[in-house]
Symmetry: C2
Subunit: 163 residues, 2 copies
């Protein structure tokens, strides 16, 4: 059992998430609902390589941020799911997106979701986390207003059409 560099919460978080790809993968699973290896590989904006994706999925799995399960519809397919710890990264994602939107040269259509998440605030994040728990952990949620997931997607697609 190798231990990290220090017991500081921020340092430990970085030892799990502190690379260029882990959070991108979680982002795609979270906001793009990509659940299969091939989806994560080809539908990514950034073009991750298959060996890196494979490595990160294993690493995230053994650290408890991702779980894998066979897909009943195809004996070879694997479904990757978020876990409760990674679902609780939603506020971190929201803040990180808001910060990037404010200080870095973001693309308009990709910034829409970050803006919506930021304006929605903690209540919206909680609702979104409940939707993720339903999608990934099979925990039914109280039927609420229109899905945050759908709203984020709709806002993005509306922005695409503005060109």
């Amino acid at each position: 059992m190798e231990q990290g560099r220090s017991g500081c919460p921020i340092n430990l978080s970085l030892e799990v998430l502190g690379d260029k790809w882990s959070l991108v993968i979680i982002r795609d699973m979270m906001f793009g609902n990509r659940r299969h290896f091939r989806e994560l590989l080809h539908n990514s904006e950034e073009g991750i390589a298959s060996n890196i994706l494979s490595d990160r999925l294993h690493r995230l799995t053994e650290r408890g941020l991702v779980s894998r399960a066979p897909d009943p519809s195809h004996k070879q397919k694997v479904i990757y799911s978020l876990t409760e710890p990674s679902i609780q990264l939603v506020p971190v994602m929201a803040h990180l997106g808001a910060w990037g939107r404010r200080h870095l040269p973001v693309t308009r259509e990709l910034a829409v979701r970050a803006e919506l998440l930021e304006r929605g605030g903690p209540e919206l994040w909680e609702q979104f986390m409940d939707e993720l728990r339903e999608q990934h952990l099979d925990i039914p949620r109280a039927a609420g207003s229109e899905s945050v997931f759908a709203r984020l997607r709709a806002a993005y697609e509306a922005e695409l059409l503005r060109d």
Copy 2:
């Protein structure tokens, strides 16, 4: 002018902060008020190497997250300061710390600050950011209650004495 992998806010944030050291350095400047190379080098929990520290300080400087200025008291000393963009990382730090504290094997005394920041919520973060603006940007703040910086430090030291 090389551009990144995509214009997504989260991806762009990761291209700036997505390594194991950048946020650790910003954390030490932010919560430990380390402003000199030597302080950052030796007083760090994690033991960063000098070449890495040098590289990251340059990188963070050219990306606008850190500024450098000569120290009038010593012709060779350099004072590193946070900038407005990096001060605005306080909420990200708070959430990241809270997440790490909840899901990773943190050390008790190092977790105290994360807990205090989490319980304080956005109002406390704003107050802390104003203190950072005073310390790093020379922007005077309205005289308020006891400094958040001092409270975080006191809580940490009180926890150390409990051994």
